[in-house]
Subunit: 139 residues, 2 copies
Amino acid sequence: MRLSTKGRYAVRAMVDLALHAHEGPVSRAEIAGRQGISADYIAHLFHRLQRAKLIRGVRGRSGGYLLARDPAHIRIGEIVRAVEGPMALTDCTVPGQETVCPRASRCVTRALWLKTAQAVAETLDSVTLADLCRQATES
Amino acid sequence: MRLSTKGRYAVRAMVDLALHAHEGPVSRAEIAGRQGISADYIAHLFHRLQRAKLIRGVRGRSGGYLLARDPAHIRIGEIVRAVEGPMALTDCTVPGQETVCPRASRCVTRALWLKTAQAVAETLDSVTLADLCRQATES
DNA sequence: GAAAAATTGACAATTTCAGTCAAGTATTGT
DNA sequence: ACAATACTTGACTGAAATTGTCAATTTTTC
Ligand code: FES
Ligand code: FES
């Protein structure tokens, strides 16, 4: 039941990006340095975040990354889902994968896994990137 | 963010046990046969469930396992925690492990992971073994 | 045109998962 | 008594996921 480093790093990197992207793109090297995460690893995470349209990559010299949306409209759940895939506690509760368990229709536990994953999603979606940034600056 | 088979198997096995233990202990072989789970694997799961005082092992011929408590007082969360360890999305949110992250006191994401794990625990603890059994029989 | 930086894919070390196997202990039916 | 049954426990293994690293490529700017 652990979140992988992908999810944790991605959220931290996004907070860092939100706090420093006010003027121009932020490079991986800067974020990696501040957050103590490998720059090469961040590349993969940001690739996924970009596919999810949460950030935008700017190439070339003095390039880097920018948020694609206002931090107040980026929910933490979106970040986690982007790098970790759909939130589901079992394969058979992933949307579109209902047929993995042969007896899914009779399974008494399935509804519970579904409900639990929903609780996780709701919790993570109840917080925005702006919320975390505010918390980070007011310390 | 997946639950391992330990958690899923343990819950299924406990439901099976609750449904069949009315008269005498149930052996691993019976449960394994009905649920399609390896009997040897169940041994390990039940060992942990026993340490958590959720079931009781009865040795010798015609032995097996019995529930240690009334199904109405066994919460699914207890079963999952017994086989998967404490519910935490990160190592630094495991009770007693707060020092894993050097900057835990300043970390803005930690509170969110804590809150999320709590949501999972509450959801799983809101359902009892008796609830699942009722659902299984009324189909 | 050279340097900086993102893009992308291949690859490797480590850890976790899922399950097997076996040796040992306790109990019971006959 | 004793053989059969069944739990107990630890060691071990193959497969998969995790967590990165590295290099080649493309794009842009100074
Ligand atoms: S766990 Fe997949 S249907 Fe029951
Ligand atoms: S993730 Fe552990 S303290 Fe921030």
